[in-house]
């Protein structure tokens, strides 16, 4: 079972967990990505996320399908937030359910690492004294 969403509204971690519930699974791993208050010591005020929605959904689906195929995973939930996020807001939630914990941990790690490399979502950091698209420059 795959549950994917890109949303302008706050993410519901409890709903993600219950969407991933499965009586055949003994291990559920949750990753949440949260907006941090500084980058390299520089205070961050907020983050602004945008996405190329159709392609982002397609790339996230590919990650979920690969996680299911490569590990013995039964359910995976990947929700990503876009728009303006403040410090402490949840930007991404990934829940992986598998019969055993090893697969759940590995698949969850794979999902977040791959998402950060392939999914067309971008964030701009707004600092007190400027702003910057993350990772854009050499």
């Amino acid at each position: 079972m795959i549950d994917i969403k890109i949303s302008d509204a706050p993410l519901d971690i409890a709903a993600c967990l219950s969407n991933a519930a499965d009586n055949e699974c003994g291990g559920q791993v949750v990753f949440t990505g949260t907006v941090r208050n500084k980058t390299n010591g520089r205070p961050v005020i907020r983050l602004e996320y945008e996405c190329y929605r159709s392609m982002a959904l397609k790339e996230i689906k590919k990650i979920a399908e690969d996680a299911i195929r490569l590990w013995n995973v039964r359910r995976i939930v990947i929700h990503h937030r876009v728009g303006v996020l403040g410090i402490g807001d949840t930007a991404v939630v990934i829940v992986v359910s598998a019969p055993h914990r090893e697969a759940a941990f590995e698949a969850c790690r794979y999902a977040i690492e791959t998402l950060k490399k392939t999914v067309p979502i971008w964030k701009k950091e707004i600092f007190e004294d400027g702003e910057e698209w993350v990772s854009a420059h050499a």
């Binding site: 190329y52 392609m55 950060k116 971008w122 964030k123």
Partner: protein
Amino acid sequence: MKIRILAFGIVKEFVNSSSLEMEIPEAVTVGALKAELEALYPGMKRLKTYLVAVNDTYAGDDETVDTNAEVAIIPPVSGG
């Protein structure tokens, strides 16, 4: 032929818009399109790297772009 190109993230600032129209030769390759973009918008060269997507899929430099394709410039992603 004329194609529409979508711009995201920092690329919107380089091209001053979230989309642009470009006149390109028939069956242009992604590589040739990138060279043309960099000539028109020198800011593109300041990017660490970037990719081009054709119809929602990352495209290699040798692939050709059809008239009705949806083309997007993908600067380094930073989700999560």
